[in-house]
């Protein structure tokens, strides 16, 4: 049974169909990539799956066999479905450690006090945020450090699945390489990953399956190399065969 099943999900804003009948399945333990041009509905799809800030207008989202499309965002997070945001996001006025502690505590209500602190420390160390930085205000961190911290707060919540929204955006090439390595290590922990990314090399190097969206609809789905070679994908998204080669 798939860990995540998205079935005919739709979301509209007035007359604009941002997500229009999208269906796919993500198996436990895999890294599943989602690509698509700007405005294709990738982030809206993430929002409808996680209920943050809104759920779908119609369709079903099943996580571990249970329908979650009607649940509040925090309730979905507590079921083990964590997400990151396209823009590097953190709780600016809290310290680095407190940021991770929030993830360790609230998304996993079985943990509090020393257990939550241990989980926060382990997650921060795992992503490579050095202990001397734990007392710094998160708002003082660089873009890359904030992105890494966002991953740490997600890992601290001990999720079964992690939805990453363009983790490579605004990063330098060395930082992207570090991110690829980190995502591989996260997957090696047994966390299933659903990944949106514009940087195709990033997606290709990580994903076992690739879904391409265009105008809110599924354009192609399957093996990443085969998908990006499809002429309609090239036409709609890549624009040139040079990248696919």
């Amino acid at each position: 049974m798939a860990l995540l099943e998205v079935e005919n999900v739709a979301k509209a804003f007035g007359s604009l169909k941002a997500v229009d009948g999208v269906s796919f399945k993500v198996e436990a333990g895999e890294i599943f990539g989602i690509a698509g041009p700007n405005g294709s509905g990738k982030s809206t799809l993430f929002n409808t799956i996680t209920g943050i800030p809104f759920g779908p207008d119609s369709g079903k989202v099943r996580f571990d066999g249970n329908e979650i499309q009607g649940l509040a965002g925090h309730a979905i997070a507590r079921r083990g479905l964590a997400r990151t945001f396209q823009r590097e996001t953190c709780f600016d006025q809290l310290t680095v450690f407190e940021n991770a502690e929030i993830g360790a505590t609230y998304a996993n209500e079985a943990r509090s006090g020393a257990k939550a602190r241990d989980a926060a420390a382990e997650a921060l160390a795992f992503v490579g945020l050095a202990a001397p930085s734990w007392g710094r205000r998160a708002g003082e961190l660089s873009v890359f450090e904030r992105k890494i911290l966002m991953l740490a707060t997600a890992i601290a919540s001990d999720p079964r699945m992690l939805l990453l929204d363009e983790p490579a955006s605004s990063l330098t090439k060395p930082e992207i390489e570090l991110s690829v390595e980190l995502i591989r290590r996260i997957a090696a922990r047994g966390i299933t990953i659903l990944l949106i990314e514009h940087v195709l090399t990033f997606l290709m190097s990580l994903s076992q399956h690739l879904l391409v969206l265009n105008q809110g609809r599924v354009l192609a789905l399957g093996n990443p190399r085969e998908v990006i070679a499809e002429p309609r994908v090239v036409e709609a998204y890549l624009g040139t065969r040079r990248v696919a080669a």
């Binding site: 800030p53 945001f85 929030i102 939550a116 961190l141 890359f144």
Partner: protein, 338 residues
């Protein structure tokens, strides 16, 4: 300098709260502050001076609790003074009409304010910004209109007079030059501040700041917006209601002026001037603004204008308020010493 470690990660034993002032240090500082305030009657010899300090303590409780919802929670609760007013009238009605013991009525007023805060939270649970201001301001006006309309019990525009005061065994509270009320007010401020600081340092307090900093991100980490917002407003209401009750017991009268914009503006000035999201800032600003206003009594109509200019100047130079100013000065001093 990057803080990312690219080598194999190691986990050291996590400290309790890295980057935060240790509890014992904060407690020691707060006790010193409390001791200084407790000794103030030795310096302030006259009853009027102690009256001013009692008013400072009342304002400080209301302002610091407002700082919890506004500064920490980021909830623009413009009905906060209505919670104070509810405390005033709850105490007045409980003691005068229901003949309940004043101390029991004092605590009950805090509980009633909490219930009112929960009621007002329901319509604003999913609102943001200006809409919260509108609803909470409307709530304050509604409470005032209810009190005015029930004049058989509340005295309407005349208010309530000869409200039973507090007592302390056989001590004469009326003819002790306000010593007893001074120390009761100080105890109320101390308990309120302890409660607020424990709250903001707790995991619930951190989640409240997380929601303020980034609501969607906090929700994505399992924080419930509805639950935490309700807890924040309820927590900010208890001592505000008690302060209202204490005010009624101390002044021995109640009027709808406590719902007016004048008092709300004064207390909001204290929250902003002190520096939001600090608790201590609102307390310091209550002291500074009240004492400053008293010292300018001879300036008549110029007094509020001078006070307003002072607030504007401080806020322009130090947007973080008095606490921001003190931090900047402390940073300057430590850099020079280094």
């Amino acid at each position: 300098m990057s803080v990312i470690e690219t080598s194999a990660p190691t986990v050291s034993a996590p400290p309790r709260a890295p980057g935060r002032t240790p509890w014992m240090t904060e407690l020691a500082g707060a006790l010193v502050g409390l001791l200084v305030l407790a000794l103030l009657p030795l310096v302030v010899g006259d009853a009027y001076g102690r009256h001013v300090l009692i008013m400072v303590f009342i304002y400080a409780v209301v302002a610091s609790n407002w700082d919890l919802s506004l500064g920490y929670g980021g909830v623009f609760n413009f009905g906060h003074l209505a919670l104070f007013g509810i405390g005033v009238y709850a105490y007045s009605l409980l003691t005068k009409l229901a003949m309940i013991d004043p101390w029991v009525a004092l605590v009950a007023s805090g509980v009633i304010a909490v219930v009112a805060a929960v009621v007002v939270t329901i319509p604003i649970l999913r609102l943001k910004g200006i809409y919260i201001i509108l609803v909470t301001f409307g709530f304050a006006q509604l409470v005032m209109q209810v009190i005015l309309s029930q004049s058989d019990y509340t005295g309407g525009t005349q208010g309530i007079v000869r409200i039973p005061g507090l007592y302390w065994f056989d001590h004469n509270m009326v003819r002790d030059a306000k010593f007893a009320y001074f120390y009761i007010a100080l105890a109320m401020l101390a308990l309120s501040t302890l409660f607020l600081r424990v709250f903001v340092r707790s995991r619930t307090g951190k989640s409240v700041v997380a929601l303020r900093d980034n609501e969607e991100y906090a929700v994505s980490r399992g924080v419930s917006l509805v639950r935490q917002r309700m807890i924040t407003l309820a927590a900010s209401a208890f001592f505000t209601g008690i302060a209202g009750a204490f005010y009624a017991a101390y002044q021995r009268n109640a009027s709808v002026e406590v719902f007016g914009m004048s008092l709300a503006t004064i207390v909001l000035s204290m929250v902003l001037l002190g520096g939001t999201g600090t608790i201590y800032g609102a307390i310091i600003a209550s002291f500074v603004l009240t004492v400053f206003a008293e010292s300018m009594a001879d300036f008549g109509a110029w007094r509020p204008m001078i006070t307003a200019v002072l607030i504007i100047v401080v806020m322009l130079v130090y947007p973080g308020g008095i606490v921001g100013m003190l931090k900047a000065l402390w940073g300057l001093a430590t850099r020079r010493r280094a």
